[in-house]
Symmetry: C2
Subunit: 187 residues, 2 copies
């Protein structure tokens, strides 16, 4: 198998691309193998040479979008001051916005947000753990809080065509994170 990588890689990618076009339009459960292969110009059977089923396409695609530890921008308190994972997430999002805004949106995959959090948590943890003596459990909750908020607000930002200038958004989040949301809300 796979003795002609240029060809199979191309076919694979064509199928993924067609899948993505459909995924942007409708829920995954309404996508058929027939549609994908027709759009890509292949026989339906060919699909099964590359994927076990439609969910396999999504999984493979998602896997390629989850940053591995070493390719994530290195994160230290020094270079990030307070920014926390803000920059990291921002860059990640920017780089893959085409996919992220859909996967993290209303018709996306709730599992993807989890995968993303899971991949980022260890990095933050490792760096932050030395600066506090929090109960590990409580620490996890705080991380979950931060990442949920960030992913939520970033998705909102992309969804709404970046109505707010990027600088304003960053300033806003940083302010909320350092001074609390209450102060900002109650003047």
């Amino acid at each position: 198998m796979k003795k002609r990588p240029e060809i199979t890689a191309q076919t694979r990618q064509n199928l993924i691309d067609s899948f993505w076009l459909l995924y942007c339009e409708k829920r995954i459960e309404n996508i058929t193998v027939k549609e994908i292969t027709q759009k890509a110009g292949y026989n339906r059977g060919t699909f099964y040479e590359y994927f076990t089923d439609i969910y396999d396409v999504l999984e493979q695609l998602e896997a390629s979008l989850i940053p591995s530890l070493d390719e994530l921008p290195q994160f230290t308190i020094q270079n990030q001051t307070m920014g926390m994972p803000l920059d990291m997430l921002m860059k990640l999002y920017e780089k893959n916005s085409k996919y992220y805004s859909v996967l993290l949106g209303d018709n996306g995959d709730p599992g993807f947000a989890s995968k993303l959090k899971t991949s980022i948590k260890p990095i933050l943890k490792q760096e932050l753990i030395q600066y506090n003596d929090l109960d590990p459990i409580e620490f996890d909750f705080i991380l979950e809080y931060i990442l949920s908020a960030m992913i939520g607000i970033m998705s909102y930002w992309f969804r709404n065509d970046k109505k707010l200038p990027a600088e304003d958004l960053i300033r806003l989040i940083q302010d909320i994170m350092t001074n609390g949301v209450t102060n900002r809300l109650l003047k």
Copy 2:
């Protein structure tokens, strides 16, 4: 049709219940009408007397889980001090935890979180708008931030069998919201 509401309401509920048992086990697209009606002890045709298709069941179920404006606990700055929507969401979640933890979980429906946010936002907005002079757009971002964080951390809490005592969780969130997350993280 529907001249004997007691009976039809019961049937409807039985079908929804069976659907829910299956939904807790597997992805919605692998659920068949046959399975639902078999589990509930009805003929397959009966299903179509009540729902147009399987997604219709989920939609109807979700609709019953989204609080309407008037049934939401009234929220005022006075009685909530800083708590913001915390108590509100907490009670809502507690009341429907059986469904919320699944719908908001990894295999849930990403659209449900949106629906929930959309239903809560106006209430917060209405009450909070008078206490600040924020730019409306920025205001929306802050709301999105808060609700994403809250829903995220609450889901995490339920998913992990409430490892943290409820009081601790509430105190934690309130602290983060009033004093910022940074302070808590960096001792």
